[in-house]
Symmetry: C2
């Protein structure tokens, strides 16, 4: 009797949480066994090996992130700056509660160098993020919600770098308040002076 799709998905989620928290090298197969509930035999016959479990976990993360970014940023109706803020707040909450940065970013230093497949997944992930932010920032520019110093491309660069920087900050122990303050500072920096949508929520969370 083959395993059901639901069982596999649950295992992948557990593996994602585990690898996300402890990285690839630092996580042993026994750890994966304990976390997923699959035993060695099942793990090897279902996935192939440690690397394949990891790739499944990475893909799962990628999928979720893609949905979050696309759902938030591609919506033509929503105010783009607020959409950006929401997406970042989601990611910040996630990183703060897990106490670890972006799964895909953390992976970079560790195994991307030796695994071309991982490298390629990261590249497509970044492309998608770029695209998603690009849509939001085009709309922001059209609506006059972007500092006239900046092109939409500038904005994309800033936010893509911000999300990676926040991932690193989380990895070094930055807490939710720190990260939210950095987000608000960046949003203020790209907004036209005195823009109401930028200042509205600001007082809630900044130091």
């Amino acid at each position: 009797m083959a395993r059901t799709q639901a069982e596999i998905e649950t295992a992948v989620l557990a593996a994602r949480d585990l690898f996300w928290r402890t990285g690839f090298d630092e996580t042993s197969i026994d750890d994966v066994v304990a976390a997923t509930g699959f035993n060695r035999y099942a793990l090897y016959s279902e996935f192939g090996g440690k690397r394949e479990v990891f790739l499944a976990a990475l893909d799962r993360y990628h999928l979720e992130r893609k949905q979050i970014f696309m759902a938030g940023l591609a919506d033509e109706a929503a105010p783009p700056i607020d959409a950006i803020r929401d997406v970042f707040e989601f990611c910040i909450d996630e990183m703060a509660s897990r106490g670890t940065g972006c799964f895909m970013c953390n992976v970079a230093g560790e195994i991307a160098a030796r695994d071309p497949v991982v490298r390629e997944r990261i590249a497509t992930y970044l492309e998608q993020i770029n695209l998603a932010f690009g849509m939001a920032l085009e709309r922001a520019a059209e609506r006059g919600e972007l500092n006239t110093n900046l092109s939409p491309t500038d904005g994309v660069r800033i936010f893509v770098t911000l999300i990676m920087g926040l991932g690193m900050a989380a990895q070094h122990g930055a807490d939710r308040q720190d990260m939210l303050a950095t987000l608000e500072a960046t949003l203020a920096s790209i907004s036209p002076l005195g823009d109401p949508s930028a200042r509205a929520r600001r007082k809630k969370s900044v130091n």
Copy 2:
């Protein structure tokens, strides 16, 4: 005959380059032997072990970075925004030519989690960066070179996160032009509209 200080320093520099490029776990003692020219015996009697060589390399990196940031940003006479740009350009050139991100940031995901000493070094490193940027941004605010949307603290958050984000970007294969463009976008975003010092150099390098 004990080893001379100069020989040790050369070895530490080589070790720094090696660990910077390939990380801690991925670098074997034999690699360190080959890179430093010290043989196992010398390495162990001079440093103690792999971890100690690594810590020496990390300290060396930390020292250099501290000097670069302090020299650039603490200078009361220099225009602060230009000083910030210079410091970033130096780091960007370094990362681009090495094809790897910030040594200390890369280390975070890999061993900070398991080594409290490394964690503490990273914390003091970040503190010092914060201080250095703080000085420059206080002066920028006084001189009216900071967008009035932003406090000096906001600026510090933005630049500290930028440097970590650029480190991640470099790790993922961003090239010099990409990183310079992100730097210029950020400098434009924190500058008052139409500020000449922000726009002056801009045309040189942006896409």
